[in-house]
Amino acid sequence: MVGGGRFDMARLVPRKLDRKLLRDLWATKMQALAIAFVVAAGIAVHVVAAGMLDSLQETRRAYYDRYRFADVWAPVVRAPDRLLADIRDIPGVAAAETRVTSHVLFDIPGMDAPASGQAISLPDSGRPAVNHIHLTEGRLPRRGQRDEAVLLDAFARAHGIAVGDTVSLTLHGGRESLRIVGIALSPEHVYAVAPGQLVPDARLFGVVWMGREALAQAVDRDGAFTEAVVTLEPGYPEAAVTGALDRLLAPYGAPGAYGREQQISDAFISSEITQLSTMARVLPPIFLAVAAFLVNVVLTRLVAMERTEIGLLKAFGYHDGDVVWHYVKFAGAIGALGLAIGLGLGTWLGRQMAALYTEYYHFPFLIFRLEAGVYLSACLVTALAVGGGGALAAWRAARLDPAVAMRAPPPPDYSKSIGAGLTRWRMLDRQTRMVFRQILRWPGRSAFTLAGVSVSGGLLIGTLFFLDSVDVMIDVYFNSANRQDVSVSFVEPRSWEAFHSLRRMPGVIEAEPVRQVAVRLRHGAAEERTALSGVPRGARLSRMVDLDNRSVEAPPGALVMSQDLADKLSIAAGDRIEIEVTEGQRPVFELPVSAVTTTLVGSGLQMEIGDLNRLLGEGRVLSGASLRVDAHETRTLYARLKDTPGIAGVSLQSEAEDRFVELLDQSLGTSIVIYTGFAALIAIGVVYNSVRISFSEREHELAVLRVLGFTRGEVAYVLLGEIAILTLLALPVGALTGTGLAWGFSQAMSSDLFRLPFVISPRTYGYAAGVVLVIAISSALMIRSRLDKLDMVAVLKSGE
């Protein structure tokens, strides 16, 4: 029993220390919570971004693998089926398939606007060797059943079309009625966006898959194909295969083979992945660094307040290690809480985000799942950040000599602060001098507070920048560069007569012809594929504009080029460039680039339509038109367009703009709420802890001021002046940080698809400053209430 009793005593001692730990945590609960939330924000961003990145990449990989998504597409006008064998023989080609594709215009009952789309053939027997589809319902078309088709899932759902329904459409100039026998998803249309559009609109873009023979007959391609799709041997260079395909298919009107980076759906997913990985790289380290510093500051203060207790513990025979471990556990508890909240919040947000993603990215499955690695890395970085911050402070505690620790610390010496001389300026009253000297006495801590508040404001600006940027993008794209209401494209170039008949259609107020050809550009060793547009001089509807919304026109015989293309080809205004037209007679010519201008969406290469037609030598033709229409007559116009043969596609700008804004409101709106919240957490964590620690250090001093007859307001000024000055200083620093962050985001997140213009509105700066000020003021007010409870009587009895 006696031995047992001694044993119990030994076990009791650590438990007592743990009880002290719990009490310490309880006493500093607001500070601990504030830090835990900063950790949680960092972990949540990490979990959402890394988890989403993993999920998206893994889902894409699995989906592409299973459905044999092509690596290279090689469109042609018409090539004989027998070429398939030659294609399969090209070195580096793993599998190849040929197919017939065609533009279609859907006529959906109850919808005035025509929906554009694509018809794609499926082999009459068996699965395609490349680009298979995923049936969600029904079956594939049967051989010989000419009117059977499979419909794209999103389009079917948007219009309530089910298996067994009939869909009517214009195909190669003729009206067809197709019976829907299956509903499908396709790896080619994960992001089902119509060519030339920015955001998908499930109602306005559809795909039908038909039997090969049926489609070939409908579009007059019997025994021929219009596109070859191939997968590559792993690791084989794509350029070698596209080169071989181009040589093989050149006689058949091939505009040039291209890889996944130019496949619109995959390009959008890749762009999303880039954005996620930028987010995953930039944001969590900011939060965790802030948390590490906060833990360090709070623990350092705790150690300072518990000097005597630490001295006693060590005098009683506790080892340095016990003391370090005790304080590291304090940091650990905060880290664990933050980690738990962050993992929970991150997983929940991740699921919400995955649900949002499935609206735009049509995968057969997209499950937000977290790899063990994401959890593990979250735990590891938290342990490193918070543990590291805590260990430094704990080590200071351990190094205290017991005899020294049990004596009261000497009063802080303000005579040696850097810049103390400045604070003797006559205009400053004594209270203000106290405020400035407090800042200068602990320059590291002040700098951190300033940095923390700046980062918070900067994050707000960096986030809100997206709204400003996209506002400009929408404005330039829809209201300046593309002012048409409707864009019409023909199946093949048409004579000027077609333009006149468009112009005479009901409701058309203004019309402009467009001639577009596929070209290959060469400058030095660089080569790029793109489309060259011919527009009339003085074009008012579809044109190239600079960032100030001024129209940029090509002088006779010259080109205007977008900045992204110029960068890829290392071209400056005034340079000459070789242009190979990859359709029709395939002429090659050299032209000067008269101007390079930044386009926000896509690439652009323009010249005057007359000049282009002369170079092509095909007479006065056009491949489409831009129309401005009377809103009251769109219904009649749409009906006429649906009935007009030879129209490949109709895109509706106003619908596109609405859809774009709607998408932004949903996705960007949600992100902004989340990031504003997270940025606010940093500000709260930093400001609250800074004031709270300042209060605990100066509680005695402030009580003395009250004793001396200073009012609560005057004492509050001495306490809160410090954070007020630091916050005010942080506003311009934060504005700079945010400007830099926004610039970084605009660079990192711009892609071939679009460029985020670097614009920050005064409203954004104002909003960020407002949020920071509100947080600083409310954190300060929370602590100001403690001033009312200052114990003046205790001051008379005790020293510092």
């Binding site: 009063p411 001098r433 009587v793």
Partner: protein, 246 residues
């Protein structure tokens, strides 16, 4: 008590402080602590009073109430005829600001302000104060005016604290163990400073001390025991601080 009134040679109406039946109870029920149990006291203007008594006898509690730092539980407390017993927090703050100078055992200077600035801190909010230089000269510290507390000895810090207390020309000086943390030589210098202030500014000065020897420099010595005034002695002859038995 009758002693107090009987032996006071001054007019009652000129009393600086007057208390009647003053009580102070901390806590309640069984754990209630009666710090003051009905104190009747009158302290004339301009007196230098020493409060003696063992720890827990109630002298600090009385000083806190007289200084407007704490409120009595019962009874009455008047300053120059004005009832402050139930004064608002704001009124008490103004009372301290305008009329009271405090000197503490642990100096309680602002570490971030120099000696001069510590004094100026108070003169800035006073209505008719001395200049910081004058106040520091009164305590013999004019040469150390631009030093921070961390650069001053304990005695010097305490003299700065006295300079800070007198700089506003207070009507009342309340000192809680002003020499408690000092050696005898330094303690005597501090007491000299307090005496000078009492004589030149005429401030009613109350000093709490454990050092019975200090009582000889007072006009009046009040001994506390068990929350009540035990004995009041009026010195007909007052000793100089340098002659005190330490």
């Amino acid at each position: 008590m009758q002693d107090t009134q009987g032996q006071s040679g001054r007019d009652r109406d000129t009393a600086c402080f007057r208390t009647r039946g003053l009580t102070k109870v901390y806590g309640s029920g069984a754990s209630a602590v009666h710090a003051l149990r009905g104190v009747d006291l009158e302290i004339p203007e301009g007196d230098l009073v020493v409060l003696l008594g063992p720890s827990g006898s109630g002298k600090s509690t009385l000083l806190n109430i007289l200084g407007g730092l704490d409120r009595a539980t019962g009874g009455e407390f008047l300053f120059r005829g004005e009832d402050l017993t139930r004064a608002s927090t704001r009124a008490l703050t103004l009372y301290r600001r305008r009329h009271v100078g405090f000197v503490f055992q642990f100096y309680n200077l602002m570490p971030s302000l120099t000696a001069r600035e510590n004094v100026e801190l108070v003169t800035e909010i006073a209505q008719n104060g001395l200049s910081a230089g004058e106040a520091l000269e009164l305590v013999g510290l004019e040469k150390r005016a631009d030093h921070f507390p961390a650069e001053l000895s304990g005695g010097e810090q305490q003299r700065v604290a006295i300079a800070r207390a007198i700089a506003k020309r207070p009507e009342v000086m309340l000192c809680d163990e002003p020499t408690g943390a000092l050696d005898s030589a330094t303690g005597i210098r501090v007491l000299q400073a307090l005496k000078t202030v009492n004589e030149t500014l005429g401030a009613t000065t109350i000093i709490i001390t454990h050092n019975a020897g200090v009582a000889d420099m007072a006009h009046r010595v009040i001994t506390f025991s068990d929350g009540q005034v035990g004995k009041v002695r009026v010195n007909t002859e007052r000793a100089n601080p340098e002659d005190l038995a330490w």
